[in-house]
Every structure is written in structure tokens, then in C-alpha cells.
């Protein structure tokens, strides 16, 4: 049985890979044939829309009419998943707005999943941001994404500080997006299509594109690792009503993950 899900992808910092992670999620849901729609809050030009034009609308998430357009239709839409790529700087204010309009409270009572993919930056400021954001998300599925695609180093963080923050958010689940070779990433950017279209060597029109086989191979290998990571953290459960009911008991907690990693 399916249930609708609202997924927010965001961070308060810019350049940490929000749109990249959004794109991988859209590819992931499409590969599993889960109907999905997306909102790009990079208004007015849009970034996500460039890669997934068929399913993406550009919106101003700070405007009430656009908020109505997104949040009032989550349950009634044909799409099972509504994904919002939140522009840099708007993560906390969007969550606050969702709380104020009663959306977060409503998700507790309805057959709707609310999930946040919080993309972490390389600085300690990101950790403060986690603590701040998590207060609003006690009842949501909360994914902390370490995005290595742009070679970001998380080792700058003090491991003790890092662990103490994670322990404060026991319901959070860590997701790791591995690095993709720069040249391969750049070529996908230039193609202006989805990762999957690049792998399949297809233009938007469906014609063969003639991309390098080697670069397509690297992207295929990388995307399959990203998909495995989404499988590991049970992303499909977001739209599975039965699984969602069991979620509270079976969710992987970061504290447990850290413990098992330490033991292994």
C-alpha cells in the first residue's frame, strides 16, 4: 500500500550539493517507478528544473500562493512523492513556516510521511544547524547527508564534537553520498539532463547523445552506490504505509550505527 511523502532537501549553507542530492533522489524514485513531482525554490531561474524539466516547477517558497500550491496538494496530487529542493538560507525558515501553518503537526495524524534530507557542510556551523533544525523534526524522518561528491572533507570536524551532536538527535539517519570524478560530474552538468539519461547516453529528445562510455561508466558505478545507500536507509519506506507504521520500532538510529561501526 502506498502513501504520499513530502521530502525537503536543504541546508542553510550554499554549495553543499542540495540540488545534486535532489537529482539523485529523483533518479532513485524514477528507477523504482514511484510517481514524483519536484519543486525548485531557486526562484526565478531554477536549477533542479534544468535537469528534470518534466517533473519540476520553480516556486517561491516564501510566498503564500506557492506554499498553497505545494503543501495543500501533497495528499491530493497524483505523485506519491513531493520533493522540494530548498534554496540556501531558507531551510530553517521553511521548517518554521511548516510548523506555524500546522503542517508538521498534521503529518502526525495523517497518512503522510514527512522527511528531511539535511545536506551537511564541511564546517562546525553545520553542526549547530543540525541541532537547531532537529528540534522541529522530532516526528519527521530525518536524514543527515554527508555529500562527498564535490570532494568535501568531513574530517575537518572534531570527531568528539561530531558524535556528541549526533547523539542529541537519536532519530537521525546518516547518509553518505560518495565522490564522483570531477570530469564525469562536469560532463553530466553540461548535458543538462538527469544522471540516468547521461548513463543511457540519451538526449532529452531520446536520441543517442554520444557521451563518453568511460564517463558514463563512472557515473553508473557512482549512482548505483548512491542507490545502495538509499536502499540501506530504507528510502522506499517513505511511501510504504505498512512499513511506515513499523518505522518507529525499526528505524536505524545513528547512535546504533555508530556503535555497530565501532564494534566492527
Amino acid at each position: 500500500m502506498a502513501k504520499p511523502a513530502l521530502i525537503l532537501v536543504g541546508a542553510d549553507k550554499g554549495g553543499v550539493g542540495k540540488t545534486t542530492v535532489s537529482r539523485t533522489l529523483l533518479d532513485y524514485f524514477a528507477s523504482r517507478k514511484i510517481p514524483t513531482r519536484a519543486f525548485d525554490t531557486e526562484c526565478p531561474k531554477g536549477t533542479l528544473k534544468r535537469f528534470h524539466p518534466d517533473i519540476t516547477d520553480v516556486v517561491d517558497v516564501t510566498s503564500v500562493p506557492d506554499q498553497v500550491k505545494i503543501f495543500d496538494t501533497v495528499e491530493s496530487s497524483d505523485a506519491q512523492v513531493t520533493l522540494i529542493d530548498i534554496r540556501a538560507g531558507l531551510m530553517s525558515s521553511t521548517l518554521t513556516a511548516l510548523r506555524d501553518i500546522g503542517f508538521i503537526e498534521m503529518t502526525k495524524r495523517s497518512q503522510l510521511t514527512f522527511a528531511v534530507f539535511h545536506i551537511l557542510g564541511p564546517s562546525i556551523a553545520s553542526l549547530d544547524e543540525i541541532a537547531e533544525t532537529s528540534k522541529l523534526l522530532i516526528d519527521a524522518r530525518y536524514f543527515l547527508v554527508k555529500n562527498f561528491i564535490n570532494n568535501t572533507s568531513f574530517f575537518d570536524w572534531n570527531e568528539k564534537t561530531y558524535s556528541s551532536y549526533f547523539n542529541k538527535i537519536p532519530h537521525a539517519v546518516e547518509v553518505v553520498v560518495p565522490k564522483l570524478n570531477e570530469m564525469a560530474y562536469e560532463q553530466v552538468e553540461l548535458s543538462s539532463g538527469s544522471f540516468s539519461a547521461f548513463i543511457a547516453d540519451k538526449k532529452e529528445s531520446g536520441e543517442p547523445a554520444g557521451y563518453s562510455f568511460v564517463l558514463r561508466g563512472y557515473v553508473r558505478h557512482w549512482l548505483s552506490n548512491v542507490f545502495s545507500e538509499f536502499d540501506r536507509v530504507r528510502v522506499p519506506d517513505l511511501v510504504d504505509a505498512k512499513e511506515a507504521a513499523l518505522r518507529a520500532r525499526s528505524a536505524l538510529k545513528v547512535a546504533e550505527l555508530s556503535q555497530s561501526s565501532a564494534n566492527s
Partner: protein
Amino acid sequence: MGLSMNATTVDCYDALAAPNPAPPRRGVPAPIYVVCSPSRQVGKTMLARLLTEHYLADARPVAGFDIADEGPGLADFLSHHVTIPNIQDMRGQVRFFDGLIESGDVTKIIDLSHREFANFFTIVDKIGLFDEARRRSIEPLILFLIDPNPVSAKAYEILRRRFNGTSMLPVRNLTVARGLPYGASFPHASTLVASLELSVLGPAARAIVEREKFSFLDLSNQASPQSNIPARTRAELDAWFRRARFQFREIELSLIREQILTSLS
């Protein structure tokens, strides 16, 4: 805003598992030979030279690739037919691996250094080279020179598991692997009905073939620098080359047989 995935989109996601449907098979295959071993001094370059000269002797198109970091390599012996790719950086990889599968009409022979062994096969695995080659009717064939070093048997087993479905022939160079059984350590990992063995050359003949610029093709040419080779040594080298070529032909026949069986199934 459309919500459903169109046919193109669905095709794209299927491509994650299988990039493209197999095109129709052509006539005679032009394979990619990967001559390799994780050990040094087991005869990789010699085998690559013999194979390249086998194709040159028949005036068939062939391209050699010397992925070696110490000389003398394939390029030192057959400089006009061999290029030296750089697989250390991404641009070099794109140039080399994209080129390998670009044309199915030219046989490619890769002389793979023991130092590049792991890196090469890691890249090949990541980009799915062998699967893509087969989809383009280009048969990859790993020629693995066996030797008594346990590292060699372990590497063979890893390749066999990782590239399950790709033909891999254990090659016995009797100079280093005399008496070494194929058996459990080096099981035949191919449906090809063929085997490959390099017999031992006498010291005089061996010294000659190790000279740079030596060519088996020049043996019968009286005007070549090889014309001063003693008749007995020349006969030994000639017989050795013919024996190797006979085995190469058996491999090629096996490849054709495989192609016919595949097209019938």
C-alpha cells in the same frame, strides 16, 4: 507539470542495469586481448608481441597498447603499431577506453604491466568495459600468464569471479611455469575450446628475440637485420612462431564458433 515517466525516462533507468540492447552481430570478430599477470618476468610482452605479429603476418588490422612502466615493452619492439596509453588520469582513460570499443574492425592487444594490473581491472570493472564491448560484438579475452607465485593464483581467482562471463585463458609459458598444473589454481574460465602454451626457447634463440627491433616477420626476409642469424636458430624461431600462431588460430576459431552459437541461440 507531468508526473508520469515517459518511455525515454524509463529506458534511462533500465540503462543502469544494461546500458544498451545488443546490436546485431557482425562477421569475423576483432577481439580485445588483455595479456596480463600480477607477476613480472613471466612473458607478457613476449606473448603480446607474438599476437601482434600474428595479425601483422596476415595483414589484418591490429593495434597494440603498451601499458607498461618499465622497458623493454611492446612499444619498444613494434613501435609503428603500438601506442602507450596513460590510464592514470581521467582524460587518458577516456581517450584509451573509449577508443578501445569505438571500432570493432581492429583487433586490440593490451600488454598490461604487473604494476598496472590492479588499477586497470578496477577501472574496467567500474566502467563495465567488457560488458559494453560484448554489446558491440567485440569479444574481450583475458590471456593470463600463470606462474607458481601464490599471488598469481589469487589474482586469477579474483578476476574469474569479478569478470564472470568474460573469457579468460590461463597461458602457460614453460620457461616459468613448467609442470605447473592448470587444475584447481587456474581453472579454465572460458567456454572457448582452446589453450595456450609457450614452449621453451633455446638460449641463443632467446637472446635474439630479446633484441629490440627483432621481428618474427623479418625472419624470412633476407634483407632484414635478422639475415645473419644462424640457420639452426632461425629454424627454431620460425617453428616457435608457427606453433604460437597455430594456437592463436585455434583461439580465433573458437571465438567464431562462439559467435555462431550465440547468434543461433
